[in-house]
Symmetry: C2
Subunit: 240 residues, 2 copies
DNA sequence: CAGTGGTCTAGACCACACG
DNA sequence: GTGTGGTCTAGACCACTGA
C-alpha cells in the first residue's frame, strides 16, 4: 500500500484543521465536514474522538464542535496526598467547583466490603466535578462513614474537597492513602458528567485513605481527562 | 424512559454471555450475534469493545472471537523500579517474551531532547511485547544511547529487559527513575502490536531513568492493557 | 422552529486465517 | 474458497440548544 488507512489520513487532516482554528471558534458541522473531507459521518466522528478525549475540542449537542485553547496542565507527584483544590492553588491554576452531589445512604454489601464496615452502616457519598475554563476535567467520588463526616459538615464554606475537610479537622488522625492507578473507558454516566463521549479514555485513581488506627476513613474514585493532568512518581533503584 | 440506552442493555447481555462461555471457547460470529441480539453489527462491535479492552475477550481477524479466562493480575507498587520480568517472577506468574525488535539509530531532534544528548548521537531502540498465556499484555519501548548499551549486548541470554541488563551490570550507576502516568487511546501501530483495536484504552508509563551523575540513561514508554496489571502507590499524609 | 451532535441501521467491501 | 473480524458508507431518527 502506498497510503495508510483512511482513519490515519483523516486524523492528520483534522489535526491541521484544529491547529489552524482559533481557540473558541466553531468547526464546521459534522455533515459539512464529512462531505468536505470525502468520508462518511461515522468515520469522521471516530477520527474526531481522539481529539475530544485529549481535550483539544469540545462537542456540545445542539450547539456545535469548538476548538479548545491550550489547557493549563496540572502536574504533580503522587507521593504526597493532596486535594485537587490544594494542587491548583499551589501551581496557580484557576479551577472551580462544578456540580456537587451529597448523598447519605446505607452501606450495601459491596460498599461495606470496600470500607470494611458492617452492611447498613450510615455512609455519605460526595461526588463533584472540577472545572478549568468552564470545562469539566475531573470527576471525583468520595465514600465514607458518617462517623467521620456528616452531610451537615459540608454546608458552609465547603470548597468541595472532602480530603481538605478531613485534613484540616485533624480528626480522625490520618496515616496514609493507597491509590490504585488504572486506565478506563468512560461509562455513559461518567462521560455525561465530564461532557465527553462514552468510551473515551480516562485515568482513574481508586484510593483508600487509612486512619492512624488502620481503619479506612475514605474510599474514593477520581476520574481525570488526559491532557489536563500529569501525574508522576519517583521510583527508586535497588533491592530494598 | 423506562429503559436505558441500547448500548447499555447490550453490554449487560454480552456480560452474561461471556460469563456463561467457558474460557477459550469461541463466541458466535459477529453477524450471527448481531442478528440474535437484534442490533446492527456496528452497535454490537461498539459494545464488545469494552470487553476486549479489559482483556475478557480476544478478537482475531479471520478466526473468531474467543473468551479469555480470568487473567493473572500483576499487582505491584510503583515505588521500587523493577522490570516486568522480575515482577512476574516475584509473584510467580508465567510471562514470555513476544516479538522483540532491536534498532540502532541516530538521535533526531525530538529524541535528542528527551535524552538530553546531542542530535546525531548513536542510540539503540529496543521494543518488545510481553505475553501471558500467549496473549500480549504489554508493549515496551526503551531508547538509550549506545554509550550505555550496544546492540551486541543483547544477543546471548537476553531476557528482553533492558532494565535488568543495566541493573545487573552495575554500570553505569543508577540513581532513580521518574515515571509519568497517563491514560491513552491505542494508536493503530500500538494496537496492532497488542492485538487490540485502535482506540482501546491503555495505561502508559513514560519513564526517565537517571544515572548517579544526573544524566538520563534510558527513556522508555510502557503500554499496559488494563485488567492484567494493577499498579498502586502509597501517598503520605502531611505537609512535608 | 431549524440546526447541531448522539445513536443506530443495513449493507458493502476488504484483509486475514484455515482448510 | 469460505468464513471470520476490520473498515467504511449512506441514510435515518433522536435529543438537545438557541433563536
Amino acid at each position: 500500500m502506498t497510503e495508510n488507512q483512511l482513519f490515519q489520513r483523516l486524523q492528520a487532516q483534522l489535526s491541521t484543521l484544529i491547529e489552524q482554528t482559533p481557540a473558541g471558534q466553531r468547526l464546521p458541522s459534522e455533515p459539512d465536514l464529512a462531505k468536505e473531507l470525502g468520508v462518511s459521518r461515522a468515520t469522521l466522528r471516530e477520527a474526531m474522538r481522539a481529539f475530544e478525549a485529549q481535550g483539544q475540542i469540545r462537542r456540545r449537542q445542539g450547539v456545535g464542535t469548538f476548538v479548545v485553547g491550550a489547557p493549563g496542565v496540572m502536574e504533580t507527584g503522587l507521593e504526597l496526598l493532596e486535594s485537587i483544590e490544594t494542587l491548583a492553588k499551589r501551581i496557580q491554576l484557576p479551577v472551580s467547583l462544578g456540580a456537587i452531589d451529597i448523598n447519605p445512604l446505607l452501606a450495601d454489601a459491596a460498599q461495606a466490603e470496600k470500607l470494611r464496615v458492617a452492611e447498613g452502616t450510615p455512609l455519605v457519598e460526595v461526588s463533584r466535578t472540577i472545572l478549568t475554563a468552564d470545562r469539566p476535567v475531573a470527576f471525583l467520588i468520595d465514600l465514607l462513614p458518617q462517623e467521620y463526616l456528616l452531610p451537615e459538615d459540608l454546608q458552609q464554606g465547603f470548597s468541595g474537597s472532602v480530603l481538605d475537610v478531613l485534613l484540616h479537622r485533624s480528626a480522625p488522625p490520618l496515616a496514609r492513602s493507597v491509590a490504585q492507578i488504572q486506565a478506563v473507558s468512560a461509562k455513559p454516566q461518567i462521560a455525561k458528567k465530564l461532557q465527553i463521549q462514552r468510551g473515551d479514555v480516562l485515568l482513574l485513581l481508586e484510593a483508600q485513605l487509612y486512619g492512624a488506627d488502620g481503619r479506612i476513613v475514605d474510599y474514593s474514585h477520581s476520574y481525570f481527562i488526559p491532557g489536563h493532568f500529569r501525574f508522576h512518581v519517583v521510583r527508586r533503584v535497588g533491592t530494598a
